[in-house]
Structures are given as structure tokens and as C-alpha cells.
């Protein structure tokens, strides 16, 4: 071992900076997860703070509140909704793009749909406020124009799963359809030609050639997305929902809950327990979704 290290000293030294950064910002927090079992105070830090008596005290606190049911349910249901609808729209758009013959039209349309991916969730939050706010929001104005009652969206929790879904699709459809389109551009065109000769209509070609060819990509991407359910997009929820407590019943997720208990109420025990719960569930999901993805198509998963 020593010989290998001295022989390739330069190569191993090169890896050091990145290894150290991962140690500090990834491995230390992994070890720090034990904070969930500690009676934390900042002056002692994570490792010197005393253990909880009993050890699971923080968890008892977390699991006896109603919060954990709400945030778990919201996290899982919202993400499943996003994955399902998102995949349908992304695949649909990729198929449409694939059918377009005019190159410049295709390229322009693609550029326009990709644009939202380039801006931050903070900016998206401003956009959303612009469209939805009660006084001058465009959606409210449009509704008023048609003579209906204006809606105060920020007081209607039941509308938000759909609103966030629309915004989610808006921001990600361009990006994700490119990935599917990348698969489609690799398709052998003689397949379509022979289908045409056999008298297959355009819809039949899509149904029996395009979609089956896309299926492996769809399955793999869906599996990987399911793996990330627990680490739902904090930025999206935080910048769209923010401090609108009225909306929490339907769109408060684990991430936003942990963040609020940490930075807002400073409830360290609660946030550490919720954080532990999230990390463990996330790991289980990532691990198994990758295992299944690998079985389905080797080389598609992370490991």
C-alpha cells in the first residue's frame, strides 16, 4: 500500500482538496446526525453535548406532535403527484418535439421552454406572487374580468398542491424533455419508415415505436426520482409558500418543517429528530430505488 501511495504520490495528493471538502461538508454532517439523540447546546457542540435521557426523547417529542404525520404525508403525496404528472408532460413534449420537422421552430420552442430552468426559485416566487396575489395578481384580475369572485389564493390551502404542480411543470418541463429527446434522437429512422410502408398512422407509430423505446428511460428516471422523494426541493416550497402558515396543512413538507424548527423557532430537539427521520428514510429510498434501477437496466443507477 505504501509503495502504491509513493509511486503515485502526485495523483493521490491531487485528490486531497476535494476529499477534504467532502469530509467537511458531507461526512462531518453524516456523523453529526447523532445530534438527534443529544441534548444539544451550541457551546458544547454536537459531540460534547450530553446524551438525551432517555435517548429517544427528541423522537418522542417529534412523533407525539401531529406535525410528523402531516409533513410525511405531504412530502410523499406531493412528490408522487409531481413525478407522475411531470413524467407524462415531459414525455409528451419530447414526443411532440420529435415529430417537428422544422429545425429552427424546434430549436426556438426548445429554448423557450428551457428558459424557466435558468432562474432561481426566489425569482419564481416573485412570478407566482405576481400572478396570484389578491390585489393586483393577473389570475385574480382575469377571474374578476369574467365576473367571478376574486380568489385569495394565499388563503386557500386546498388549491396549492395543484398550483405548485403547475409551477413545478413550468420550471422543469424544458429540462426534462431534453433528456427524453436525447433518447429519441438515437432511434433508428428505418423503424418509422417500415412502419409507414405497412400503413401505420402517426399515432400508431408513436404508440408502438416511440413509447416502447422510451420506456427504459422513463422507468429509470422515475425510479431515481422516487429515490429523491424525501429530499424534496426545499427551494420550491420555501420560496412559493414561505411564511404563509395558512397553507401549511397541504404544502408543508419535511424540509420546510426542519428548516422552520431550526431557524425559526430554534427548536433544536424537534428539528434534529425530524432531520434524522428524513435522512434515514431518504437513504433507504435512494438505496433501493438505485438497486431496482440497476436491476432493470445495468449502468443506469448510481452504483
Amino acid at each position: 500500500m505504501l509503495r502504491e501511495l509513493t509511486k503515485n504520490k502526485a495523483l493521490y495528493l491531487m485528490t486531497l482538496p476535494a476529499m477534504l471538502f467532502l469530509l467537511f461538508f458531507n461526512y462531518f454532517p453524516m456523523a453529526g446526525i447523532i445530534i438527534a439523540f443529544k441534548n444539544f447546546n451550541l457551546s458544547n457542540g454536537i459531540f460534547a453535548s450530553p446524551w438525551m435521557h432517555p435517548l429517544y426523547e427528541n423522537f418522542r417529542y417529534f412523533f407525539t406532535s401531529d406535525n410528523w404525520v402531516r409533513v410525511t404525508r405531504n412530502t410523499i403525496l406531493l412528490n408522487l403527484l409531481f413525478i407522475f404528472v411531470g413524467t407524462c408532460v415531459n414525455v409528451g413534449l419530447a414526443i411532440l418535439f420529435n415529430e417537428i420537422k422544422s429545425m429552427w421552430f424546434k430549436r426556438t420552442a426548445q429554448s423557450l421552454t428551457l428558459l424557466p430552468y435558468f432562474i432561481s426559485w426566489i425569482v419564481v416566487g416573485v412570478f407566482a406572487y405576481n400572478l396570484l396575489n389578491y390585489e393586483h395578481g393577473m389570475v385574480s384580475e382575469l377571474i374578476a374580468k369574467f365576473g367571478a369572485e376574486k380568489v385569495d389564493w394565499y388563503a386557500r390551502p386546498e388549491a396549492w398542491p395543484v398550483l405548485i404542480l403547475i409551477i413545478f411543470v413550468w420550471k422543469s418541463v424544458g429540462y426534462n424533455s431534453i433528456i427524453y429527446l436525447a433518447t429519441l434522437t438515437g432511434i433508428d429512422h428505418t423503424l418509422y419508415e417500415s412502419a409507414r410502408i405497412d400503413g401505420a398512422t402517426k399515432l400508431q407509430q408513436i404508440r408502438y415505436i416511440t413509447i416502447p423505446l422510451l420506456r427504459p428511460t422513463i422507468v429509470v428516471l422515475t425510479l431515481l426520482a422516487i429515490g429523491h422523494i424525501m429530499n424534496s426541493d426545499f427551494g420550491m416550497f420555501y420560496s412559493l409558500v414561505g411564511d404563509s402558515a395558512q397553507l401549511y396543512p397541504t404544502v408543508d413538507v419535511i424540509d420546510t418543517f426542519v428548516f422552520r424548527s431550526l431557524k425559526g423557532s430554534g427548536d433544536m430537539g424537534m428539528s434534529a429528530a425530524a432531520n434524522f427521520y428524513q435522512s434515514v428514510l431518504a437513504f433507504v429510498l435512494v438505496y433501493f430505488s438505485n438497486r431496482v434501477a440497476r436491476k432493470y437496466e445495468s449502468g443506469s443507477a448510481l452504483f
Binding site: E4, T108, Q110, T113, I119, M268, Q278
Partner: protein
């Protein structure tokens, strides 16, 4: 179109749907742009719109009179983006290169070390305490750069690209007496411009759009990155007036809604401006990544 009998109705539907989708994605941008140039009273009486009824640039004028505030945000985000992107590319390449070499014995161990960070993370609570208590990043400009400097996905993207370069190329350099660092710099790097362009673009975009690090670790308003500054302005337009040392006029009527929109435009301006040039590399990088992971 109508004159040509060959146009299939399906084609019309196809184009119509794609056009609608593109509009759906772009219209919010148009609304913001239009509102930023609309007379304030129009917004107050008839709401936001996709075109300005009366052009009015007083929102921008108001913002430019307090330019020092916006410039501070620009400076911080610009600095963070430039330093962060260069440092991140360098450090990532220095790890990705060795693990792309089949002759390196412990490369699988190092890959595993990187991979584990993608599979498991400790979550935001211990991360936050480590950053604040042990690394002293609270209210420190480095807090906006260091935590996201190394990302496993980028490393694997680079490694995959590097390993497609035949190792005989390295051998020829070695015969010429070049060391490992030299080989990376003068043989591998010039051959890997596409992956550096794409990964660099991912990183730069992430730094420019970042606000999570600022939200977690920065409380001082003068260290706020651009995105958080925007959020501050949108939630409290008076912040501009209170923290600017340039403008003194107090009686001026503040076009509140317009200023929020103009601030948004100024925040996304550089991205929109560079978008047509950068988009190509972005899509290329996306396709590289789509092949694996």
C-alpha cells in the same frame, strides 16, 4: 399554410400544442418585464398585464438612484460566481482525473468515497451546526462559496469524460518527461474543453442563483447575495430607500409594484442576456449526464 393541401390537421394540432407550451413557459417573463415598465397607477387599478398600457420607467429610475444597494448584491454574487466556478472546476478536475486512470490502484476506493456522499446525507441540521460552530462560516463571505464547491455528480461527469481519452495520450506525455499535474494541464485539459464548458456552466448557474447558503449562513444585509437582496426588496421596498446612501429625496412617490418587478428584471438580466449563447453548452452537458446518472 392554408393554400397547401398537404398540411395534415394533426400537424396543425402538433404545432399549436408546442406553441402553447412555449408561451406557457415565457409569458410570466413577459408579464414581469411589462409590469416593470408600466405606470404604477395602471398596475394599481387594473393589475399586472402582458403589455404596458402606458410606458413608464420611473421604477428603473428609482432603482438606479439607489444603485449602490443593488451593486453590492451584484458584486457579492459576481465574486462568488467567478471564484466559486474556477475553484470548483479546478478541485473537481483534480479528483476526477486520477480516478479516471485505470492504473491507479485505489481509484475505486476514492470513487466509493465520492459516491457515498450522493447516497447519504446528514441533513440540514448537523450541516448547519458544522458550518457555524466548527467551520466558523456564519456571516463570512466564504460561506457562499465553500459548502457547494465539490459535488459528486460533477466529479463523475468529468471522470466519465476523462476516461474516454485514451491513456496512450498520457503515456506519450510521460515519455516527454511531464509529471502528472503537467499531463492533466497540457494533455487532458485541452481535450476536455466541452466537459469543462458544460460543468462550468452548471456550477456558475448554481452559484449565480444560489440563495440557500445565504439564507442559512448570512444574516448581515451587506453580505446578501443578489437573490436574497431581491427577496428583501420584494418583501420590503423601503429597504432600498433606507439602506441607500445615494438618494436623499424623500417626498418622491415610490412606484412600489414597479420597483419589485424592475428589481426582478435586474436580477435575472445577466442570465437572460447570456442565455442564447450558453444554452447550447448546457444542453450538451445535459446529454452527457443523461447517458449516465
Amino acid at each position: 399554410m392554408k393554400a397547401r393541401s398537404a398540411v395534415h390537421p394533426g400537424q396543425i394540432v402538433l404545432y399549436a400544442v408546442v406553441i402553447l407550451m412555449a408561451l406557457f413557459c415565457v409569458v410570466p417573463f413577459v408579464i414581469i418585464l411589462a409590469s416593470s415598465m408600466t405606470r404604477e397607477t395602471d398596475i394599481l387599478t387594473s393589475g399586472y398585464n402582458i403589455y404596458p398600457k402606458h410606458f413608464d420607467f420611473s421604477a428603473y429610475r428609482y432603482l438606479f438612484q439607489r444603485m449602490d444597494v443593488v451593486l453590492t448584491g451584484y458584486k457579492i454574487t459576481g465574486l462568488v460566481t467567478v471564484v466559486g466556478t474556477i475553484a470548483s472546476l479546478a478541485i473537481s478536475a483534480m479528483l476526477a482525473y486520477p480516478i479516471s486512470l485505470r492504473r491507479l490502484k485505489y481509484r475505486n476506493f476514492i470513487s466509493g468515497y465520492v459516491l457515498l456522499t450522493l447516497l447519504f446525507n446528514g441533513g440540514m441540521v448537523p450541516w448547519y451546526i458544522i458550518c457555524v460552530k466548527y467551520l466558523h462560516l456564519h456571516n463570512n463571505l466564504w460561506a457562499l462559496i465553500l459548502p457547494s464547491l465539490v459535488n459528486g455528480f460533477n466529479i463523475f461527469l468529468m471522470r466519465n469524460y476523462f476516461s474516454s481519452i485514451p491513456e496512450e495520450m498520457h503515456e506519450s506525455a510521460k515519455i516527454d518527461g511531464a509529471g502528472e499535474v503537467r499531463t492533466l494541464w497540457s494533455i487532458v485539459l485541452p481535450l476536455s474543453v466541452p466537459v469543462f464548458a458544460s460543468v462550468g456552466l452548471f456550477i456558475a448557474l448554481a452559484y449565480w442563483n444560489d440563495w440557500w447558503l445565504g439564507l442559512m449562513l448570512i444574516d448581515k444585509t451587506e453580505l446578501q447575495p443578489l437573490q436574497l437582496l431581491l427577496r428583501t426588496i420584494v418583501s420590503n421596498v423601503d429597504y432600498l430607500a433606507n439602506s441607500s446612501i445615494l438618494a436623499t429625496s424623500i417626498d418622491q412617490m415610490v412606484p412600489r409594484e414597479g420597483v419589485k418587478m424592475a428589481a426582478t428584471i435586474i436580477t435575472i438580466g445577466p442570465i437572460i442576456f447570456l442565455y442564447p449563447f450558453l444554452q447550447r453548452y448546457f444542453v450538451k452537458g445535459l446529454m452527457m449526464g443523461a447517458v449516465k446518472g
